[in-house]
Symmetry: C2
Subunit: 187 residues, 2 copies
DNA sequence: GTCAGTGCTGACCGATCGGTCAGGTTACGG
DNA sequence: CCGTAACCTGACCGATCGGTCAGCACTGAC
C-alpha cells in the first residue's frame, strides 16, 4: 500500500503514550513501539524526527491544558481560587492520566529540556493557586503534597485503580474532597 | 593497593543511590556510576553481581522499615492508628528520601521483580492503616493521595525543596498536618 | 619466602540502543 | 500514461548497554 495510512501516525502516538507511561521514557525503545504498532522502526522515524519529538508531541497538549487552567484561575482569589484550581486540576489529571505519569516521573529526569522549561514555573504558579497565594511554607508543603498526590493517584498503573470499584466518579470526588481538606478548605 | 578499601562498596552504594534517584534506574548506566565513584565498571561488578543486585540492596532497608512500621501500628486502631501511621510514614519518607523516588517511580515499571512482590501488598496494608481500616472507596482515594503526595514531596528533586526556607521541620510538620486533614482527622 | 585469596583493571563480548539511507511501492495531479 | 511526491522497508551505522574474563597487585597467614 502506498498512501494507506497517515493514520499510522496516530497509532504510533497511541502506542507511545501507553508504553512510555507503563515502562518509562528511557526504558521504552523505538523498536518496542514499532512492534506494538506493527510497523518498522524506520516508519516510526519517518513520522517523527526522533524519540524526543515523540515525547514532545505527547506532552504538548498537557502543557496547553495547564496554561489554560492557570489563565482561567488567574483573576480569582481566596476560597474560590482554591476550589476552582483543585477541581480543574483533578479533571485535567483524569483527562491526561497517561501523560501525567510522563510529566511527573520522566520529564524531570531527562537532561534539561529547553522547550519545556516553562514547566517548573507553571508548577510554581499552580502551587500558588492551591495555597490561595499564601506564602506560608507549610501551606506550600500541603499544596505540593496535593499536587503530587493527585497526579500519582490518577495515573496509578494497576487496574482497579485505587477506589474500590474503580469508578471515575469516586476517584474524582474522593480526590477533590481530600485535596480541599488537605488545603484547609472546610467542606 | 591491594586491600585498600572495601569501603569502595559503600561509595558505590552512595553514588548509585544518588544517580538512580536523580536520573532513574534505567537511565543510569553502570559506567556512569563507576565514573562517579572513580573506579572501573569491572570493580563495580566485582562488588555487586549485577545492576539488579545494586538496586535490591538499596531498597532492602526501605522494605524493612516499612515492615517495621506496619508491625508497629498493627495493634492500633481508630484515630491513634491513623495518627501514628501518618507520623511514621512521614518520618520514614524523610529518612529515605532518595530511595523513595526509586520505589515509587522506577520499581513499578521494571519487569516483575520476584523478591519484592511483597511490596504491593505492603502498600495495600499501608493504605488500610491510613484510612483507619475503612473500606470506603473515597477514603481509600484520600489515603492514596496522601501516600503518593508524601512520597513525591519529600523526594522532590530541586533544592530549596518545597517549603520556603527548606527546613526539614516545616516539611515534616506541613506534611503531617496536611495528611491528617486530608484523611479527615480533625487537628 | 611463598602462596592463597582479596581487590581491582583493561580488554573484550554479544545485544541493543537511537538514528540514517537508498530504494521500492503505491496514489494522485498533469 | 508518466512523473512526482508520500509512505514505508530492510539493511546498516557507530555508540553504548550490561556483563565476563584473564591476569596483575598487594596482604596476611604460615
Amino acid at each position: 500500500m502506498a498512501r494507506p495510512s497517515a493514520a499510522l501516525r496516530g497509532r504510533i502516538l497511541d502506542s507511545s503514550r501507553r508504553l512510555f507511561s507503563e515502562r518509562g521514557y528511557e526504558a521504552t525503545s523505538l523498536q518496542e513501539i514499532a512492534s506494538d504498532v506493527g510497523c518498522s522502526k524506520a516508519a516510526l522515524l519517518y513520522h517523527f524526527k526522533n524519540k524526543d519529538a515523540l515525547l514532545a508531541e505527547l506532552l504538548t497538549p498537557v502543557g496547553q491544558r495547564l496554561a489554560e487552567l492557570l489563565e482561567k484561575v488567574a483573576p480569582l482569589d481566596g476560597e474560590e481560587l482554591v476550589r476552582t484550581t483543585v477541581n480543574d486540576l483533578v479533571n485535567s489529571a483524569l483527562e491526561y492520566r497517561l501523560e501525567i505519569r510522563l510529566l511527573f516521573e520522566d520529564l524531570p529526569r531527562l537532561p534539561a529540556r529547553p522547550e519545556l522549561n516553562l514547566l517548573p514555573d507553571s508548577t510554581e504558579r499552580l502551587l500558588d493557586c492551591l495555597t490561595g497565594r499564601s506564602r506560608d511554607p507549610r501551606a506550600r508543603v500541603a499544596a505540593s503534597m496535593v499536587l503530587a498526590g493527585v497526579a500519582l493517584t490518577v495515573s496509578a498503573r494497576d487496574e482497579a485503580p485505587v477506589g474500590g470499584d474503580g469508578s471515575d466518579a469516586d476517584l474524582r470526588h474522593g480526590l477533590v474532597e481530600a485535596a480541599l481538606r488537605a488545603l484547609g478548605q472546610d467542606l
